[in-house]
Symmetry: C2
Subunit: 323 residues, 2 copies
Amino acid sequence: MIRALAFALLFAVSGVSAQTLPSWNEGKAKSAIVAFVKTVTDKKSKDYVAPAERIAVFDNDGTLWSEQPLYFQLAFALDRVKVLAPQHPEWKTQEPFAALLRGDLKTALAGGEKALLEIVMATHAGTTTEEFEKVVRDWISTAKHPKTGRRYIEMVYQPMIDLLRYLRANGFKTYIVSGGGIEFMRPWVEQVYGIPPEQVVGSTIKTKFEMRDGKPTIARLPELDFIDDKEGKPVAINRFIGRRPLLAFGNSDGDLQMLQWTAAGSGLRLMGIVHHDDARREFAYDRESHVGRLDKALDEAKARNWIVVSMKSDWKRVFPFER
Amino acid sequence: MIRALAFALLFAVSGVSAQTLPSWNEGKAKSAIVAFVKTVTDKKSKDYVAPAERIAVFDNDGTLWSEQPLYFQLAFALDRVKVLAPQHPEWKTQEPFAALLRGDLKTALAGGEKALLEIVMATHAGTTTEEFEKVVRDWISTAKHPKTGRRYIEMVYQPMIDLLRYLRANGFKTYIVSGGGIEFMRPWVEQVYGIPPEQVVGSTIKTKFEMRDGKPTIARLPELDFIDDKEGKPVAINRFIGRRPLLAFGNSDGDLQMLQWTAAGSGLRLMGIVHHDDARREFAYDRESHVGRLDKALDEAKARNWIVVSMKSDWKRVFPFER
């Protein structure tokens, strides 16, 4: 009898509140998310939305996983330069590769966008899609973050994983809409976020279908196809999904247009920004940062009452590996 | 008692066979499809495929709906030229529009690809995505086929709708991968085929996100972005879906590379071609046709034992409106 009572009490205590978004602290952000989801899934509400229309989009870098001290995909590219160097003796004297191989990142990146593009093309093109997938899988399962020593896929935000799960449990279809490369994300996001490859939207290089020894292959070409950032995000959402999102989360000015596009839909919508204000558990940066600058979008979020998530106060923990 | 027996008999007769693909005649094509689906969904089979990997792709023109005497999207464009003519007095003397407005399709299309592109751009660009969606909805709900007098959305193949349903009931995710325009298809394919907008892959023109009077819009620009035909189909499948299909259906040489890409996957795959050999109920054409030419793909299908569906003998009925 007493055990039954204890069990009942335990059940009551660990009820809705603890089950819903368990890594979030009680507060304005969590309440707003839960209230929104309850409303749009309530058939009696005037803001009810049918399951098919429940599209939720998430930026990746800085929104679902970390992006400091440099975009993780750039870390991948830099590691890849080292792996490929023996096949490219000319890199010993050719910038930006020469500087990179000396370990001088600053000089290498001083060439700006042109240098960056050269690094990306040298490391992301020239393979088939299947070969590239294997390269990404190998890297992501072994490479480690320079500050935490953790594998990059461990540096994902547990509260955002909670949110993705909570939304899916409420009939939402969750998408990534990222400036990162589609084929850099697809090999691991299903396992880590529960987001399948067909729900990943991102930047692309051109590819070409061709027969190689009678075998159909898709070759990755050293040419940009589409940059899924800023104005590109609503364009890609329209192209890939063809529905306006009901909910959008980002963390930087690169996400502003996606948030605006979402907000301009009819009825209730939820727009959220992850604010990096936790130097102790993660990183603290916003208006002055080179990576993930959050300036205009922060002003607009405040002016329009979008949710601004404080990593410091809204999140019980940041990473899955924290106790 | 007799009624119960009659009911039981009726139930037995109308059992599996009649319920599965009801508009298909018993025969090689239907048997091959059913055997394939049973195998890949059977957990005990060595060819079992998890539901997440059950991607099925379908061409649209000539595979899910008719494409004669001209692609229905071209019929839309021609109607649209007439609607827009009052806003374009210059068209009275400017080809290919002048010929079109005189009703002389042959002269208008004599300009080949260039003329066609001009017609498409004049009729598909220059609006926002929302305006264009409304234009398509209005047209598709009223315009009628020149030969049958039926609305175009009635000229869909009932056996293919059966097949889409059967696949979805078996855990497949069904996609359209068409040379047609994504935004020409999305407004009506969900209602007609049960395929949601986010599972439509097609050709695109460029679009641009911009603020108009403070309202975010996506403008459709008169510039080609991507032609989802031939080599473009596997490229688009890779870009949009990121998984290799388990099953692919087409009807013309424009689908050959999609079928080859599907066939080159590991394990069991199903490749099918709809062969237009029924002049009485639909149209009969293949190697010599300008629209939907089926030549190389027919040879390859026969050589590789892909399913070639005879509309004449494999389909109990073609259109939903038939008795």
